[in-house]
Amino acid sequence: MALLALLDEGPTHGFDLKRRYDALLGHERELKYGQVYSTLQRLERDGLAAGVGIEAGGGADRKLYAITAQGVTELDQWLTTPDPVSGRPAEVFTRVVLALVSGRDADQVLEAHRRAFLDRMRVLTARRHAGDVVDRLAGDYEVAHLDADLRWIELASVRLKDIAEKVRATGSKGTDA
Amino acid sequence: MSALVTLGLRLARAGGPLRAWSVALGNAFGAFLVLLTFALPEALYPDPARRADVRVNLVASLLFLVVPAVVLLVTVGRLSSGVRDRRLAALRMIGVTPVRVRVVAAVENGVLAAGGAVAGAVLFLVAAPPVGAAVSRGPGWLKAPLTLPPGTVALVTVAIVILSVVLGTAATWQRELPTAGRSESTRRAPSPWRLVVLAGGARLLVVVDRLDSTAAREATLMLLLVVGVLVTAVGIAIMTPLVTGWVADALLARRPSVGITLAARSMQSDAVGASRVVAGLGVAVFLITGGLGFMGFIAHLPHLRAADLAYGTGPQQIIITASSGGGAVPAAALDGVANLSFDGRSSCS
């Protein structure tokens, strides 16, 4: 889909597409040529893009691709429809829940994570002027998520404390079950 | 220094036209009344000797003019004191020394008070003579023009401005700094020490009452009277918040309805502000009671009482003195005359 969006700007060939993708969204993960070409072929097969000519250039001739009208429609729809929101818990969830349920000191768990998150946040904040706008947005994204994770950890420790209290209370009443 | 003055002026203007006008008008009216008080004695009794005779009565009567003026000045000087005190506290927080804060408060109050007092003085100088002339032509109470030497006018005006400034800077004399924790609804409880003022004033008046009013002590008598009345009036004005607080406490003790709870809590949290509204009422009651008392006193003076009986339907005492020589009429015979009763006393020489 990202490639389609890049095609939307104008007819391009695969080499150029890869370059632009890497510049914008690549960051630590660059696209492989093979991936680019296979995606372009798939788009062509689905009718979202079409080959429009050959550009002569240094080295081998490169096939130019352009977006089709159907492609534009697909693209618009994809850009404006959010993913079904799921927010599936990540690894931190598992770790924290296990730590708390096992009876470990909630404050310690909280503190360790806070320290780690704060250090990571500090790195991101220090980097805020390095890189371009997209880098900055990526940094903001991560900071916001770290913030949210920490808030959840605080909440979890409170909740689990409550549950632990209840469990202890029923336990001390004697085993009836 | 100029920054402080500028700040004071700016704050005086910034408090809003309503407050500025209230302070100015209050001071104008107060100044006018006080000047009138000073001018009336000479206008009523131009002859110094005669004036000295009636001095005590004169002073007592003029107090009825002065007391409202003083209360007005006190009340107006403390208008919106809550907001202003908080604002001055904000200045203290950013590091303005106590002395400088006082300067700002003095300028802020002084400017408005001076404007008002001067206006009142000018009004007096301009309006009093013609009014006096009109009164002497008409009911003829005034025997001399109603004026004051300009020096006295200036002095009184300055005194009033100083009083206003002192009142306005009252809050800046507290030592402790309010920390940011103080919110709008912290209770400002009036201290019970306020009662001392009223007690002091009342005591002075009692002393005056008990004093033997021989001419030799006239100066003392007058001084005590004036001071006593003024202190009592001020005592009433500043005691009202205390009573307001008690009333609020009493209302709340009975778990009242929502409306009353709101009103009572509001009274509690700012008893001083709430009472300012009724302080004037308190003083008015004071004056009216004083006036009634005075009239009652007059009505019981022996010659006035007798005159009252003579005009009215009360029994009159007629003393018949007969010169010697002439037929003797048994005094008891008078008994037969209608509406006369003989009480059996006769002194014959």
Partner: protein
């Protein structure tokens, strides 16, 4: 460590029966930004008030620029507070009757700076905080966030060596909050201002060079004294 601009030693304070701070030490060097964190009621605001000389500690000492601060007379403390401290409080404490720019230039005017120069400097600060278009409005006419930024501008206007801020971004969203934090970083970098800020937000604390965690009146985490090496660079300031 001779370049300590602000120091609190063994500070202890109670309000009535409640012990709010218990044996707290804090040392701040020039150019540092220290974040004081902790749950509500942990004594963060009280610590700030003590450091600012607004309260006298029940026990302990406060040192400002190498001189004993808490034992000074009211007058002397006020003078130093005006010249050497800037602070931002949660409840603004700006003068409500004055306009925004009059409030911001106030410390300068009180220090004897000429009206025009003071107004110019105030405008610069307001510009940096993004509220210059509200400069002539009275406080009642601006939003809470704008007022808070004006308060920050006022704290910075006379470039004091120390800034104390209590939740300076509390009323602000992320972008406007960043204007405030950038201003602090600028001051720390360019003028060596030491900033102590109280916050409960991790994101805000990530702008600090050091953090301290308070709980129930005691320091339970972070570092109370600057590290002996040079303070970590906060990376580039916005060009």
């Amino acid at each position: 460590m001779s370049d300590l601009v602000l120091e609190g030693r063994r500070l202890r304070h109670s309000f009535g029966r409640t012990r709010v701070l218990d044996d707290v030490d804090l040392a701040v060097r020039a150019g540092e930004i220290v974040a004081v964190m902790g749950p509500s009621g942990s004594g963060k605001s009280t610590l700030l008030h003590l450091l600012a000389g607004l309260l006298r500690p029940d026990a302990g000492e406060v040192w400002l620029a190498g001189e004993r601060f808490d034992t000074l007379s009211e007058r002397r403390r006020s003078e130093r507070r005006l010249a050497e401290l800037g602070f931002v409080f949660q409840f603004g404490d700006l003068v409500p009757e004055l306009t925004v720019e009059e409030n911001v230039e106030l410390p300068l005017r009180l220090m004897g700076v000429h009206a025009r120069a003071a107004r110019a400097r105030a405008s610069v600060m307001l510009e940096r905080l993004g509220v210059v278009e509200h400069a002539s409005k009275r406080l009642g006419e601006v939003s809470g966030g704008q007022a808070q930024r004006a308060a920050v501008a006022r704290a910075l206007v006379h470039t004091p060596p120390v800034i104390l801020a209590d939740e300076p971004t509390g009323a602000l969203d992320t972008t406007t909050g960043e204007l405030v934090l950038e201003a602090f970083v600028h001051a720390a970098r360019e003028q060596g201002t030491a900033v102590v800020l109280v916050t409960h937000e991790l994101r805000v604390a990530s702008w600090a060079t050091r953090d301290v965690l308070l709980r129930d009146g005691r320091i339970v985490g972070g570092s109370a004294a600057p590290s002996s090496g040079p303070s970590e660079p906060l990376a580039e300031v916005a060009p």
